[in-house]
Symmetry: C2
Subunit: 479 residues, 2 copies
């Protein structure tokens, strides 16, 4: 019965005002009024999400309401309008993500997540750098089947990272102790999480949004295709980032043998691997196989996820109570459906085509090899403005990809690199990606350090991905 | 990390076995193999739900998985198959119910539910009979916007009913005290809940399922049309049932003036009506207006529900956290989508037509005026077999309606009366409808009494609904 306020009325008023102004400006030449009105709602929704006028879920419900009530997608037809406004909810891409949320709950619930993290630390944890690599590899293990990278960071990595830091004398309360271990491990955990998020379609929610939007523009990216393209730059980042961070933001304590002993002890306490953990491992590999060979098997990725969840429910590893209680999944399903519905609507009503034609006219004549890095840079650094990767992808991905294609940039190249950016641009700020608030919230890293190092690593990551990518994607025949 | 077992493997094995046997029996003449295979899955799902082999939600997920993976609805087409298997999730009817779950949470959260119940008791509570009427009228007030009749009973009525009984010396622990007040009020609360559930499409989840299934067979029922048809039999039941129960199952304490004083005190404690309660009242009437005038306004009922929820979110009466946490809504959305998808699939693939043609051949020649009560009786008393109104409606409504139409019974008449049965047949058992476990669980009523009185009232309710209905529906021009 608590009345925590979720709505900021001044911000909501500002959002509504902006929306109304756009709405009542006559539609520009070449655009239908419906397309323009949908853009007004979409723009106001993104603005409201960025300003946190309300929660993303509430804004999504209101957006669906407006699109349905104003009958923008099927003028005059009440029943078609609501069906189209709700069309996101039977979108298989969205269900793949929603279902994967349930499945990834199993990593936490069965204790498998903890076990794998301790195992890596027991193997690699002679030094603080080794612990950092251990946590990074553990993150990489879960990434392919954990589209909530926030759950991965907050549910598995962060608790272990924090307990390691504290047991090595680096506590959030004691400011002088932050740089002993905690600060380094915090930033490293954040950066690795973003890198692994970029490596698989199913490693963070917004990737499958990119896949969907690219599909709508005629660019097909399979689960395996994405993973293959990300393989080299992803692995390079995973190997280099902990080391570079270790050099320029070194932990004061370098020897971690004491903690390694503790990890071995924790592993012993966990005992033999349980039946439920084994089921989880099996489900995980089954999912990977079905995702990788989906095209050959003529099976949609969401059906694979359905099979995985069915298996976990039948084996009692997950209960229906777990599913019902997985708020993050329902939350994601709602905002994902609303944003995808609006973005698709903008494409369908001609807004994206109209917009990219304008940009194309502006920069026509530029060779694509110059236009490409320019577009990536603008997309990447505009993330300073966004408090959510999802909002950023929803707002800009389709338009940027359409412009790229119009400028002659190979569609798959642009679609993939813009997709990867959707994860790695998170390094910039302490609010830029799901796990940021969780990790920044530990208190180990000062705001100034977070932003300064964020900027440095934004450059390092861009160089790794664009540089090694240029070679790798050529070899793969992507461009 | 608790491992409460939700799966009964013996029952699950039996369910799967039955499903496999049906699946591998060759399809009867006149039916496609796909229709027959879908029937096998559907039959096994209903069987599993009735036997409680797993939760309804888990069975739904598995059913969706099977229908999608076997590509029954779009053979050979992976992407269409999954979209059709998920088609329930953008069904506006299902969303109306899901959204109404969120909205009705407001009755409980704001305290408006309690206030209205105490108000009625303060007005009518001179006698135990008066209290019964007070609780019944309170239930009637919430019914139009509370599709979870379980929430209405469990969240609002039962706690008050129990506290009244206890303060009048009738406690669950003291067996000898049960009949003082508690037993009478318990049964009366259950019966009234079922009656009000029958009166509005939005008063229990399965009603809108009936509306949807009827629509698929070409019979249109609007929100207002249903309410109008249920008006006379519903009000008669509400007025007669508490009185008849009072005569044949009398409470030992008849004078309730002591408790009336307490209700007045509770009302004073609640103080003036709060801002949030007022918003709730406003939303409630807004919803009713939009539902009643939906056709005139060219607005789908689910858009009305979206507007209602948006309003409650903007006014901070409900938070997004409330929405995410409303497990019952997500649960209902999933099983509702799965059952509707399969039932629609059976219609589309020709199973229902095939089945009703067979029955029609069996009973052809019988005048519909005889066939009608016969069909109703079979549908009604078969509820002894079902542990859930939803499972019953999903399993039998479409087939019974199709047979009715084939026999010449006016479609609207059959659709409505079968619909009303979907609520009132709950009286039969202590597991037959959502609120039954909640109210039976108070422990005030013996199993023997519950079943004996259930049978008596099943006859009384049938007489009221069929008898007054025969007249009323003639006047309304339904047949």
């Amino acid at each position: 019965m608590d009345l925590q306020k979720e709505v900021s009325w001044p911000k909501l008023a500002a959002t509504v005002l902006v929306g109304l102004i756009i709405y009542f400006i006559p539609a520009p030449e070449g655009l239908s009024p419906d397309a323009w009105h949908l853009f007004a709602i979409f723009f106001a929704a993104i603005l409201g999400i960025i300003m946190k006028a309300m929660t993303m879920g509430s804004i999504s419900i209101i957006s669906i309401t407006l699109v349905a009530a104003l009958q923008l997608l099927a003028p005059g037809k009440a029943s078609d309008s609501i069906k189209l406004a709700l069309s996101g909810f039977n979108n298989p891409t969205i269900w793949m993500i929603t279902l994967s949320f349930f499945i990834s709950r199993g990593f936490i619930k069965t204790g498998l997540g903890k076990r794998i993290a301790y195992w890596f630390i027991a193997k690699l944890g002679n030094s603080t750098l080794g612990i950092a690599y251990g946590l990074t590899f553990a993150d990489l293990c879960f990434a392919p089947a954990t589209p909530s990278n926030t759950a991965r960071a907050g549910g598995i990595i962060m608790p272990i990272m924090k307990s390691i830091s504290m047991s090595m004398g680096s506590t959030p309360e004691d400011h002088a102790s932050h740089k002993k271990v905690g600060a380094y491990l915090t930033l490293n955990s954040y950066y690795s999480n973003l890198i692994t998020s970029g490596m698989f379609i199913t490693a963070t929610a917004s990737n499958s949004m990119c896949q969907k939007f690219a599909h709508d523009l005629g660019v097909e990216i399979s689960w395996g295709g994405w993973a293959m393209a990300a393989l080299l730059p992803g692995l390079l980042s995973i190997l280099l980032v902990p080391l570079i961070l270790y050099k320029i933001y070194p932990p004061e304590i370098k020897d971690a043998k004491i903690y390694k002993a503790e990890a071995v002890k924790k592993l012993l306490e966990l005992g033999k691997i349980t039946r439920n953990e084994l089921f989880m491992v099996f489900t995980f590999f089954l999912l990977l196989l079905l995702w990788i060979f989906g095209t050959t098997l003529n099976m949609d990725a969401s059906v694979a996820a359905l099979i995985g969840l069915s298996f976990l429910l039948i084996s009692d590893v997950l209960t229906w109570e777990d599913v019902k209680s997985e708020k993050g999944a329902w939350d994601t399903m709602v905002w994902f459906s609303a944003l995808v519905m609006m973005a698709e609507g903008l494409s369908k009503l001609g807004f994206i085509g109209w917009f990219s034609a304008i940009i194309k006219n502006e920069v026509s004549g530029m060779p694509w090899i110059w236009a490409f890095p320019l577009i990536i840079l603008v997309y990447y650094y505009s993330h300073y403005l966004f408090a959510s990767a999802t909002a950023h992808v929803a707002a800009m991905y389709t338009a940027f990809l359409a412009v790229s294609i119009a400028l002659g940039i190979p569609g798959k190249l642009a679609a993939l690199m813009l997709g990867f950016c959707g994860s790695i641009f998170g390094v910039l700020t302490h609010y830029g990606h799901g796990p940021a608030p969780v990790l920044f919230g530990t208190g180990y890293v000062d705001l100034k350090d977070w932003w300064k190092l964020g900027f440095i690593f934004s450059i390092i990551l861009l160089i790794i991905w664009m540089g090694s990518g240029a070679l790798w994607w050529k070899i793969l025949g992507i461009y």
